[in-house]
Every structure is written in C-alpha cells, then in structure tokens.
C-alpha cells in the first residue's frame, strides 16, 4: 500500500514552480505594483473592457440601469473572459503538476488532520477539480478494501462541502474577483480550512452519535 502511495503522487520541479506561480498570480501580491511585476497578477492579465463615454459618465458596454434577463445576459458576457483566463491558467498549473505539488505539500498536514489513510490523497487531489471523478475514486478504494466504510464517510464529508472548489470558484467565482475585498486566494484557503473542519465534524459524529447505532450494521454502502 505504501509503495502505491509513493507511486501515485510524483511531482517534478515544474510542479512546484507552477504552484508557486499560481499562488503569486492569484494572491494579488503584485496588483498594486507599478512596474513590470504587475504582470504576475490575475486581474492585470484579465484587463478591462473599453469605456463608452455617456454624458459625464464613462460606462462599459453593459451600461447602467439594466435589469432582468437582458442585464443578466450582458453581465455574464462580462464574466466569461475571466473564466476562460482562470481555467486556462488552472489547466496549465495542473498539467505541469502544480495541483499534485499542492497536495504533496499538504499531505503530511492533511493526513493527521483528516484521519484518513494516505491512499485517499489522490481522490482529494481529484476533488479540487471534479466532484464525480473524486467520488468515484473513493468508491473504488472501498471496493478494493483499501479504506473502511467510516473512512469513506469522513473522506466524502471533506469532499462534498466545496466539492470541485478550484473549478467552481474559478468559474462562477470570477464574477466577484473585480470587486471582492480580499485577494483571490483567500476564499480558497478559507474553503480548505472548513473542508477539514467538516471532515472532523464527521469523525466526531461517527464517534459519538453514530456509535450507538453501529450494531445495526455498517456495510450498507
């Protein structure tokens, strides 16, 4: 089992570099920089729409005072470039092994924090980007008797809350990147922390509330 673990998470230097670049890009560290370092900022790369002068105001193409489906449509057009850019960057980072690097760095912390075996880590990597694929991997682990039913429940409690958070956050979340008051990376950190808290609430539940019912059988899965 241990060999399997080592095999499953292999990260080259590009992975760490890609992760580092992504953290810089989404942390907004260089957003206020006046020089060329500004290039390492997501919102700089995302740019701006041109303005249309209308009376005293300069409006973008959406104008002002719209409402309903039409306003919603134009607003979603405003969002799409950020989603295209964000998911393009995420795919590069993932392709270079950046998400694996993140997981590898976090594994020694996550394992004791979640109380699940290291073999689940590949599923938790998958969970950053896909709900279904990660859940499927967990099922496989149970079917192969690598993890127990309880470990599955804890892992899934971690996965369900903010599932596929990288994909979801960088797609719909891009809607608020321009006016959000915290760096883009902060909500991600908050989500991961609460995912861990959620898994531990599940452990607590299994140890306390559910323990009384455990005689009824735990193999219903």
């Amino acid at each position: 089992m241990k060999e399997k673990e080592k095999k499953s998470i292999k990260v080259g230097w590009q992975g760490y570099l890609a992760l580092f670049a992504a953290i810089i890009l989404f942390s907004g560290i260089f957003s206020a920089n006046e020089g060329w370092l500004k290039v390492f900022d997501f919102n700089t790369l995302n740019g701006a729409f041109g303005k249309i002068q209308s009376g005293a105001q300069a409006l973008d193409f959406r104008g002002a005072g719209g409402s309903g489906a039409r306003d919603g449509f134009l607003f979603s057009i405003e969002l799409i470039p950020a989603i295209i850019l964000a998911l393009g960057i995420v795919n590069v980072v993932d392709g270079l092994g950046g998400l694996r690097a993140a997981q590898k760095l976090m594994t020694p912390i996550l394992r004791p924090l979640l109380g699940i075996p290291g073999i689940c880590m590949l599923a938790t990597i998958a969970n950053m980007q896909s709900t279904d694929a990660a859940a499927g991997m967990v099922k496989e682990l149970v079917d192969e008797k690598e993890i127990t039913d309880e470990e599955r429940s804890v892992n899934i409690a971690y996965q369900t809350s903010a599932s596929a958070f990288i994909t979801n956050y960088f797609s719909s979340g891009s809607a608020v990147f321009s006016f959000m008051l915290v760096p883009i990376i902060v909500p991600i950190i908050v989500m991961v922390i609460f995912k861990i808290i959620g898994a531990n609430l599940m452990r607590l539940y299994l140890k306390t509330v559910y323990k009384n019912h455990s005689q009824e059988g735990t193999n219903n899965g």
């Binding site: 095999k7 292999k10 409402s67 309903g68 489906a69 919603g72 607003f75 979603s76 057009i77 969002l79 799409i80 989603i83 295209i84 850019l85 998911l87 393009g88 960057i89 995420v90 795919n91 590069v92 993932d94 392709g95 270079l96 590949l122 709900t131 279904d132 859940a135 967990v138 099922k139 149970v142 039913d149 429940s153 899934i156 409690a157 996965q159 369900t160 809350s161 903010a162 599932s163 979801n168 956050y169 797609s171 719909s172 979340g173 809607a175 608020v176 008051l181 915290v182 902060v186 909500p187 908050v190 989500m191 609460f194 995912k195 959620g198 609430l201 509330v209 559910y210 219903n220 899965g221």
Partner: protein, 161 residues
Amino acid sequence: MANGETAEVKSKNILDLFVEGARRGFTIGTTSLMPNVVMAFVIIRILDVTGLLKLIGNVFAPVMALWGLPGEAAMVIIASIMSMGGAVGMAVSLYNADSLTAAQVTMLIPAIYLMGNPVQNVGRCLGIAGVNSKHYFAIIGICVVNALLSIWAMRFILLFL
C-alpha cells in the same frame, strides 16, 4: 491510471494546456454560468417588481443580522442550496441593486461553495461514492454548518485586510 494521465499531459505544451483549459472555461461560462446568472437576475427582477425582495429582506433581517448581513443575503444562501452559479449571480445582482456591499458579497463567497448545492451533490458525490445513506443527513448538515461558520470567518478576516 494517474501515471498514464501524467504521461499524456506531459506531451502537451503550455500553450496547448492553456487553450484546452480556456475552452473548458468558455464552455462552462456559456453553458453553465450564463443560464444560471440569467435565472438569478430574472428571479431578483420578479422579487423586486412584486415587492417580495423587501419582504424577504425584512423577514430574514433578524436572522442574517447574526452574521452582520442584511436580510436580502438570505437569498444568496437559499440559492446556493440549488446552484452555486445561481447563488453567485444572486450575490452580484444584489450588489448591483445596492442591497449588498462589496464586503458583504466577499463574506458570502466561500459559503456559496461550502454549501455546494446539496440538491445535486446527493446524487453526484454521496451517490457515486456509495456512502451509507444513514450518513446523508449528517454530511449535508456539515455543509450547512461549514457555510454558516465561514461567513463569520470571512468577516473576521476582513477586519485585518
């Protein structure tokens, strides 16, 4: 499986990877986000025109005050139970209507994903993994608790940033 994937990915260069992700972004943006945002804007429009938005705002005001949010913010949390994209659309729509401030939207963002539309997730996450159905209630409860706690956490973070 994973190793095969990596080998395949390594044969693509960075530009290909970017374009591939960008294409997925376009697909998600047009086929998922856009319909959700239009839906959210229409719902807000209906609520606004009928005066229900004000009513909801008043009804939920005492509850939402616990998180330092106006009653209208309840709409975002309710929407997140059904759709994350819809909830973000709701938040932005309320921001546009001056019902929520930028700080209040910021506070709600992690909550939207932590809630993670349990309506869909029961099938997609719990069902696929084959979780013991006795635990469904607990796991969904955890999502709700996570979401509500995260609003306080974000409020706390905003004090320092």
